[in-house]
Amino acid sequence: MSLYRPPKKIGAIRFGLLSPETIRKMSVTRIITPDTYSEDGLPIDSGLMDGRLGTIEPGQRCKTCGNRIGECPGHFGHIELARPVIHVGFAKVIYKILRATCRKCSRILLSDEELEDFKKRMDEYEKKWKGLSEEISDELLKKASRVSKCPHCGESQFKIKFEKPTTYYEETKEGLRRLTPIEIRDRLERITDEDARLLGINPKDARPEWMVLTVLPVPPVTVRPSITLESGVRSEDDLTHKLVDIIRINQRLRENIEAGAPQLIIEDLWELLQYHVITYFDNEVSGVPPARHRSGRALRTLSQRLKGKEGRFRSNLSGKRVDFSARTVISPDPNLSINEVGVPIDIAKILTIPERVTEWNIEELKELVIKGPDQYPGANYIIRLDGRRIDLRYVRDRKTIAESLEPGFIVERHLKDGDIVLFNRQPSLHRMSIMAHEVRVLPYRTFRLHLCVCPPYNADFDGDEMNLHVPQSEEARAEARVLMRVQEQVLSPRYGGPIVGAIQDYISSAFLFTSKNNLLTKEEVCQLLSVADYKGDLPEPAVKEPQPLWTGKQIFSLFLPKGLNISLRASVCRKCPGGCLKEKCPYDAYVAVRDGQLITGVIDERSIGAFQPDSILHRIIKDFGTDAAREFLDKIGKLLIEFISRKGFTMGLDDVEIPKVATIRIQEILKEAEEKVDKLIESYRRGELQRLPGRTLEETLEMQIMKVLAEARDKAGDIASEHLGLENHAVIMAETGARGSILNLAQMAACVGQQSVRGERINRGYRNRTLPHFKVGDLSAKARGFVASNYRTGLDPIEFFFHAMGGREGLVDTAVRTSTSGYMQRRLVNALQDLKVEYDGTVRDASSRIIQIIYGEDGVDPAKSDHGKAVNIDIIIEKVLSESEQT
C-alpha cells in the first residue's frame, strides 16, 4: 500500500491571454489539412484528428504521451492564420482602446501629467481597494476618447467608428476608411506596457495585440471527440466542423495571396475567415448569422459550451456526476427507524463500501469474497497492495483468491445493514433535503423510509423517486454519521423547531389513542406495547373493576421521558372566548405533562406533529437529546400505527352527509345571499350604492358582493359542521390537523363557494358575460362563478366549468411560483454561500471581509436555539425552583 501523501492543493489560478508564441510552443503539431480521416479510416497527419492530439478510441495509444484513453489529457495543435483576425470577445475592448490611443504613436491621448495622476491613483487603489482600479480605467478611457490631438506626437485624431461585430472605421475627412486587423494589431503592438496597465490590461498576462489572432490554437481531440454511429458512419463534433471551415478558408486565402490574386478577392476571403473565427468562438453574436450544421441546427461552439445551465460551468464544474449512487421509487415503511432507509437487495449488491483487510476482519471478508458479486452479502472487487483491482465477476475460483487476501488489501463489499448512506430528494431546497440514513437491506425494489421523515424531504409516495449515495471514505462516513443523520437534523435551522414529526394517520391515531374514552384491556395493552418494543412494567390500571383497563394517556406516557414537563394547547382547542379553563378543559384540549406523565389533554398535531415548535416532541429533543427523540418517534410511531390499524380509520361519502333539515337551511341561506346580491346590483344600477373611499363604484359593488357570498358560504359551512361531530373521521382529521380542513369539509358537505380568477369573481369569457347561458351584463352570483352546490351532490355544468377555471389558475400559479422562487433561492445561495463563522465569532465572506461582528447579534445558532430564543429562561427558572422545592 502506498503511504499516505497529503493531497496536493491548488493555491491559485491565474487567467491571461495566450500569446502567439505560447500557442506555438504548446502545440504538438501545426494543422494544415482540412481533412480528418483518410480513406482507410486512419487519421491524417497534420489533420484535425492527428494522432498526436490525443486519444479518443479505446486501446489506442497517444502518439505524444503514450497514454491510453482516460490517462492522456490531450494535446493542443495550432493553425497559422494567413491574415490576422479579431477575437470577437474583445471587439469592444479593442474599440475602446483604439479610441483612447493615438493613431500614430499609440500612446494614451492624455498628457504625461494626467497619466501620472491616473497612475498614482491606480497604485493607491490597487493597494487599498482591489477591484476598484477598473473604475479608473473606465474613467481614463472616457477621458482619452474625447481628445482630438495627441499630446505626445501632435497627430490629430480621427473618430473611430465601430461596426458590430468586428469592423472598425476611421472617420477621415475623405470619408470612412476601414481599419484592417493588421493595422489594428500594429497599433496595439505599439502600446507600452505602462499604458496597457492604465487601460486595464495586465501586460504580463495579456498584451493588447494578442486580442488580434495570428495563430489559432486547435484543441485536443479529447475536447471534441467524434462519435461512431451504429451504421459505422463517423460523426464529427461541432468544433471539428468549425475548425475544418477555418482551415479551408485559411488555405484558400493563403493560396490566393501567394498567387497574387486581386485585392478584392483577398478581402472577401479574409472577411470569410473572420466570420468563421467569430462563430468558432461564439455562435450567438448579434448581427452574425449563426453557423449551421448540415441539418440546419446551429453549431454549439466554444462560448455555447461554457454558457448557461447546460454549459460546462453550471453542469460539469459546479455540479458533477458521481459514482456509488442509486435512484428508485420510494415507499413507506412504518417499521423502520427514522434513521433508517430500506435499500432493495438488488441495489445493495451493486453499491459497495471499500473495507480494508485487517487481521480482525480477514475471515469475514474472505467469506464475502467467496460469495462473490451475485450472492448477498458478497463483494464485487478486491484491490491488492500494488493497487491492482480484481473484478470478482471474472474470477473463476473465488476460493483461491479469498485465500490470497492479506491485511492491507481492500475489499469492496456489498452494502449491509447499519452502513451509513446519504439520502436525497430533489428539489434540494434546504439542508434537510440530504440526510444520512442507516441501511436496512430489504427485499423488493423500492427505497423504504419512515413516514416521519417525509416532511423534511417533502416526499410522498405517489411515484416520488429518491437518490442514495454511499460515502467511500472513513472521514465522509464519520461526518455523515455525526452531522447528517436524521436524528441530528430533526430541528430545522429555519425556525429552531422540529421539522421531522408525525403526520396524517399518526396524528389521527394519537388523538383517538389519548382521548378520554379510550380504555384498553390488558390484552390490547400488551399487544400494542410489544409492537412498540416496550420493555418494562405495566403501570397500575386506571380502572380495576370489573376488569383492569388502562387509559390511552397512561400508555402514551410510558414513552415520554421521565422529568418531562410541558403544557400546551392542542390543535383541537376551541380558543374559548371566556378564557382557557386549562386542566378543566371540557374538550380535553389542554395538554399537561408532569414528570413524563400525560395528565390531561389529547395528543394531536400540536404535540407531536412536524413543523410544530414548542411541542412535546420539541421539548424531548431539547431537554433529553436526539437519541431520546428518535426512540420516542420510532416507538410511538409503531404503536400508533398498530392502534389505528386495529381500530380502523376510514372516510367515505357518508362522512360528509348531513341531514335533510340542514340541507334545506343551507339552501335557504344561499338563496338569501343571492337575493342580497341581486339587491346590491339593483341599487348599483339605480346609482344608490355608496362608493367606498379610494374605490370605483364597480369595485365597491364587487367587494360587497364577494363579502356577502363569502359570509353565506361560511354560514353554510357552520351549519354543516354542526351536524358533523368529533365521531366523524373526516372531522377528526381536520380538527387534529392530520389532514384537510374544516373548509374542505364544508365544501364537500355544504357549499363550494365563490370561484375566482386573479382574485376577482370570474368575469372573462364573452363580452360582458361569462357564458352564453347568461344575459349580457349579468352580475348575479351564479353568472359570476358562485358554486352553490357541494362536492357530494355534485356541480352542475356551469358551476363545473367555473370551478375548472379557478382550478386551472391554481395550477398555473404553482408552476410559475416554483420557477421564480427557485431562481430567487439560487441567487440567495450564490450570494451568501461563502459566509461562515470564524473562530473569533465574526461572520466573514471569502475575502475575510467582516459581514457581522457577532452572528445574529447574539451568536446563537438558530438550529440550536429554542424556537429562536437563545435560552428558554422560563423552563430553567421553573426547573431550578421545583428542584429546590423537592430538597
Binding site: 497529503p6 489560478i13 491565474r14 487567467f15 491571461g16 470577445g89 474583445f90 475592448v93 477591484g131 498576462d205 495579456a206 462560448s303 461554457l306 464544474l317 459546479s318 431546497l429 434546504h430 439542508r431 461526518e479 452531522l483 435551522p493 429555519r494 425556525y495 373611499p693 379610494g694 382574485g759 400559479d813 421564480t820 422562487s821 430567487m824 433561492q825 441567487r827 440567495l828 445561495v829 450564490n830 450570494a831 451568501l832 454561500q833 461563502d834 459566509l835 461562515k836 463563522v837 465569532g841 465572506d845 471569502a846 452572528y855 445574529g856 447579534e857 451568536g859 446563537v860 445558532d861 436555539s865 437563545a870 435560552v871 430553567i876 427558572i877 431550578v880 425552583l881 428542584e883 429546590s884
Partner: protein
C-alpha cells in the same frame, strides 16, 4: 433580606453584561422574569449558571456555513408563498405588494418598489384628533388641479382653457380657489381670470396642439402636497389610540420635514430612500423589517438571524447592494464564482485581460476545481504525519 437579593441580582446581571458573558436580550428578559419570583441567592446562582451553560451550548460553531443556511431558510418557504401581487394590508383602501414578489423586490433592492408606502406617525398635538390629522394629511397629499376640478376643457371659441373647480373636493383636500389661481399664475402661460369656481386661462394662440399641451400641463399641475404621495389615508390605531397616516407613494425626505410629523417613528418601505435619508444602518433595519413582515404575513416561521445576515451582506459596503448579478454576486473577487453564476463568458474574457488571479477561497471555486470547500469541517487544515514506510518496515522486520 429580599432587598439584599435584589441588589445582588442587579449587580451580578450588570457584571454579566459588562463582561459580555450573556447578550443584552437575555439579561433584559432575566431581569424581568426574576422580579416575578421570590428566590434565594443560591437559587439565583443556579439559574444563572444554568443559563450560561445553555447559552454556551446554543452558540454557533466556528466554520458553520451560516450564509447557505440563511439563504436556504429564506428561499425554501418561497415555494409556499402566494404569487398574488396585490393584497390588502391593514388599511383596506391601500394595495400593498406582498408574498413572493415583494420578497424578490427586497433582495433585489429595487430602486422603486412597485407599491411604495409610508406610515406616518404624528406628534402629540396632532395624533389625537382626526381633524388635526387631516390637516397634516392635506399638507402631505399631492393634489393636482385635476383632483379638485369638476371639468377642465379647451374653450375653442375664446382660445382659452376653462377649469371648473368642485367646491366639495376643494374642501376635502383643503384647497382654496386663490391658491389654484396663484399656482396657475406662476406658470406664466397666459392671463388668469377667476370667476367664482371657474378659472379661465387665456392663451392667445391659434395653434390647437399648443392648447392641448397646456391643458395636459394644467391637469397635472401640483397645487399642494409632497411629490410622489398620491394618496393619504387616516386610520386610528387601536393599540395606542392615535391617528396614523398611511400613504400611497413615498417621499421620506420631504415628509419628515413637515411640522407635526413625528419623524422618529415615521416609516417607508422604500429601502433606498431610507439609505439616502437616514443612512445605511437604517436601511439595514428596513430590509430586516420588510422581509420579516412579508414572511410573517404569509404565516411562515423564519428566524430573524437569517434575514439579518442577508441584510448585513446587502449593506456591508455602505450602500445597498442587490443580491444577484448586479450586486453581491457580481462583485465577488473570484472569477470562477462569478462565471459559475451568470454571464459566464464575459467574466472569463475580462479576467484574462486583467490577468486576474483566483485565490480559491470561496465555495464555488473549490467545487469547480474539485477541492474541499473551506466551510464547516473543511475549514480546518490539519496535516497528519504518518509513519514513513521505511520506518514501518524497519520496525516490523
Amino acid at each position: 433580606m429580599t432587598e439584599n437579593i435584589q441588589k445582588e441580582i442587579d449587580k451580578k446581571l450588570k457584571e454579566l453584561q459588562k463582561n459580555k458573558v450573556l447578550p443584552p436580550s437575555i439579561i433584559e428578559q432575566l431581569r424581568e422574569k426574576l422580579s416575578q419570583f421570590k428566590i434565594t441567592k443560591k437559587q439565583f446562582e443556579r439559574i444563572i449558571n444554568e443559563i450560561i451553560k445553555a447559552y454556551k451550548l446554543a452558540l454557533v460553531e466556528p466554520g458553520e456555513a451560516v450564509g447557505t443556511v440563511a439563504a436556504q431558510s429564506i428561499g425554501e418557504p418561497g415555494t409556499q408563498m402566494t404569487l398574488r401581487t396585490f393584497h390588502y394590508a391593514g388599511v383596506a383602501e391601500l394595495n400593498v405588494t406582498l408574498g413572493l414578489p415583494r420578497l424578490i423586490e427586497i433582495v433585489d433592492a429595487r430602486r422603486n418598489p412597485s407599491t411604495p408606502m409610508m406610515t406616518i406617525y404624528l406628534e402629540e398635538e396632532y395624533r389625537n384628533s382626526e381633524e388635526k390629522a387631516r390637516e397634516i394629511a392635506q399638507k402631505i397629499e399631492m393634489t393636482k388641479i385635476e383632483n379638485v376640478a369638476k371639468n377642465i376643457e379647451i374653450d375653442l371659441v375664446n382660445k382659452r382653457i376653462l377649469i371648473v373647480l368642485d367646491p366639495e373636493l376643494m374642501k376635502n383636500k383643503g384647497v382654496k380657489v386663490e391658491e389654484v389661481a396663484e399656482r396657475l399664475k406662476k406658470l406664466k402661460k397666459g392671463e388668469i381670470i377667476v370667476e367664482d369656481n371657474v378659472i379661465y386661462v387665456e392663451r392667445k394662440t391659434e395653434k390647437l396642439p399648443e392648447l392641448q399641451r397646456l391643458l395636459e400641463k394644467i391637469r397635472n399641475l401640483q397645487i399642494k402636497g409632497i411629490k410622489g404621495i398620491t394618496r393619504v389615508v387616516i386610520r386610528k390605531v387601536k393599540e395606542t389610540n392615535e391617528y396614523v397616516l398611511y400613504t400611497e407613494g413615498s417621499n421620506l425626505a420631504e415628509v419628515i420635514k413637515v411640522p407635526g410629523v413625528d419623524f422618529a417613528r415615521t416609516k417607508t418601505n422604500n429601502i433606498h430612500e431610507v439609505a439616502e435619508v437616514l443612512g445605511i444602518e437604517a436601511a439595514r433595519n428596513v430590509i430586516i423589517e420588510e422581509a420579516m413582515g412579508v414572511l410573517e404575513e404569509q404565516g411562515l416561521d423564519v428566524d430573524i438571524r437569517h434575514i439579518m445576515l442577508v441584510a448585513d451582506l446587502m449593506t456591508a459596503t455602505g450602500e445597498v447592494k442587490q443580491i444577484g448579478r448586479h450586486g453581491v454576486s457580481g462583485e465577488k473577487p473570484s472569477v470562477f464564482a462569478r462565471a459559475a453564476f451568470e454571464v459566464t463568458v464575459k467574466h472569463l474574457l475580462e479576467a484574462s485581460l486583467r490577468g486576474e488571479q483566483d485565490i480559491l477561497r470561496g465555495v464555488a471555486e473549490n467545487v469547480i476545481i474539485g477541492q474541499e470547500i473551506p466551510l464547516g469541517t473543511g475549514s480546518l487544515e490539519l496535516l497528519m504525519y504518518t509513519l514513513r514506510r521505511k520506518e514501518e518496515e524497519g520496525s516490523s522486520g
